[in-house]
Symmetry: C2
Subunit: 111 residues, 2 copies
DNA sequence: TTTTATAATATCGTTAAATGATATCATTTA
DNA sequence: TAAATGATATCATTTAACGATATTATAAAA
């Protein structure tokens, strides 16, 4: 995406970060959790996954807390949690603005 | 962004399309409406704006309904409205999944 | 103790998106 | 007719997504 990196998270970024709010995980477990919680809607392949983990670690959104063989376990940081929450707020703002513009949900998807 | 074009809209895409749900507009008016409704949070510069208008017209999400001098007025199509609504649904799904994962809004932003 | 399988991570290369900067063009105003 | 303004168009750069593929560590089977 975009120029102004990290200000708004992409869907992939949001879900990956979100997964770690449950507790420490390795990459593969995160990816499985995301697929499960989203009921298959969101699927993060290895390329996206490890690219994001590297970026998040660099930004200190997550930190590595253990290495067992190849398995690297990460934990979300305060900074990462804040980023995740602020992304959630952004989603609410988008919905609010959509309502302000008068956009309505379609009938069959309502409630 | 992304490979699978148009499946999930970016924030810029969503707001530009959203603006046209209110009724026909020219690019500049759309950009001003977005800035107003989002209370300055979302600002679409000309590069982003006209790049998106061209793309949306190509995808038949909007169609040109008049040209007065340089001013080109567009109207959203049924297809465009559906795309916008389905993006809104996606936002709701993201929030639902965030709740399922246990992510809570921060106190000062609650309600 | 070598294979072989499997789990997990890492990287490459391509396509797409965002956007500042700048240019173009039509209309209005001086 | 020149200057200002409004509106649109394009370029070049940076960043993101992700299929495909490779690498590496452990576990299981031979």
């Amino acid at each position: 995406m975009p120029k102004k990196s990290m200000e708004t998270l992409t869907e992939s970024m949001f879900y990956v970060l979100l997964a770690f709010t449950r507790g420490p995980l390795c990459g593969t477990d995160a990816s499985e959790l995301i697929e499960k919680v989203s009921e298959g809607r969101v699927c993060i392949g290895p390329a996206t996954l490890y690219t994001l983990l590297a970026k998040f670690e660099k930004e200190k959104y997550i930190k590595e807390i253990s290495v067992e063989g190849r398995r690297r376990t990460y934990e979300i940081t305060e900074k990462g949690l804040k980023a995740c929450q602020s992304e959630l707020e952004r989603l609410y703002l988008c919905i609010k603005d959509a309502q302000a513009m008068g956009l309505r949900r379609t009938c069959d998807e309502e409630r």
